[in-house]
């Protein structure tokens, strides 16, 4: 799992870290947060994507080995949230790269994240 933070307000990021803590522990499904996009199977995109971030996101998507699953994370990732009318906003994630799963919420609860991840692994 590789985490791409767009222009996130940091709240979703903290919820992602929650999933790695003892209570929720994503590693019992064999999922680890890794540092290099080359090793990634899942690209987690959180935060609203602005015009500068858009190019980075496309570049990152092209650099990742396929097959790759993309998760749009949080209200901003899924729809744009409160930033949808903003000037620098470059569209929700699924307008930029193909998305496999949406985890809505502002921020999503750790339980919701786990539910989304399990649906994705069973797919």
């Amino acid at each position: 799992m590789f985490h791409f933070g767009g222009a996130s307000c940091n709240n979703c990021d903290i919820e992602i870290l929650d999933c790695l803590t003892p209570k929720y522990d994503l590693e019992r499904f064999g999922i680890q947060l890794i540092g290099s996009i080359r090793h990634a199977d899942v690209l987690l995109v959180s935060g609203s994507i602005n015009r500068k971030g858009r190019e980075r996101l496309i570049e990152l998507y092209n650099q990742a080995p396929k097959p790759l699953l993309v998760v749009a994370f949080g209200a901003c990732g899924c729809t744009g949230g409160i930033f949808a009318d903003g000037i620098p906003f470059a569209g929700p994630v699924d307008k930029i790269i193909p998305v496999d799963a949406y985890i809505p919420g502002c921020p999503p609860k750790p339980e919701a994240i786990l539910a989304g991840i399990i649906k994705l692994t069973n797919k």
């Binding site: 803590t21 003892p22 522990d25 590693e27 019992r28 499904f29 064999g30 890794i34 540092g35 290099s36 080359r38 090793h39 199977d41 650099q63 080995p65 396929k66 097959p67």
Partner: protein, 309 residues
Amino acid sequence: MIKDLFYFIVFPGMVFSVLIGGILSWSDRKITARVQFRKGPPFLQPFYDIGKLFYKETILPKYGAKITFLAAPVFALFSATLANVLILLPSFFPNSGFKGDLIVIFYLLAIPSVSYIIGALASGNPIGAIGASREMKLIISYEFAFILALAAIVVKTDMSVTLSDILAKQQVSGANIGSISGIILFIVILFVIQAKLAFVPFDMSEAEAELAHGIFIEYSGSAYAIIKMARYVMLFALPSLLVTLLLGGFRMEGPGILWSILKIILVLLLITLLRNTNPRVKINQAMRFFFIWMSISALFAIGLSTINL
């Protein structure tokens, strides 16, 4: 010839080592999780990882030496497997091995790290190059302490550099660890193993937080799967070398099997606990640690071995 191929490919070579190495890697991750009060990964996770990586796309770097980049993991896997075969054969089949195989094992165990460096430099990634330079400094620092420790064991075994002689000596007069110099050597080799496996506190070459897996950053797909397999084999080979040199080796009959498993689990537990209770040191601290403290300890152990302590 066919027998040698069987040794290399099936038992105790590639298939067996990757299998056991995968199980050891799982126990390493599981112990880590339990130390952090987590649940930990499922039992077959290392094998899922390997299978998944073979199924994925392998990306070649645009500005890099592609053939060197792909050949490096293969060299790592083959030399690690060969080292493991040479380590395990004298335990399973007495009187196998040849004169001077300890020296061959020493060189074979150095090749995986060297080929990771070559692969990282061939990838053309600047972060990979930083990782490679750190790994190079680390090799320079720990190999000296490692060869001194091996020399101390050779002194203990009446100047014999054959692994089966070392095992035979321990069967006659008790395991090598039952002496002051043996305990010192155990500590030295344990730290060397930690550095060779690139585990915390000596993981500065791959440092997830700052270098994003450093030397492995550009690897993906099957090439990364081969690197993972090489690392599993190393995770099996190095503890079994320690068990062979100091703890009396493996015995494959009756209750000996249980003892063998317990010995390797003990060494793995020590490695994993060291890994989980320490922060990452800086490269200059690691060099000072190995050059000064570990080398002096190993020299001291050589001195004690000459007077049979």
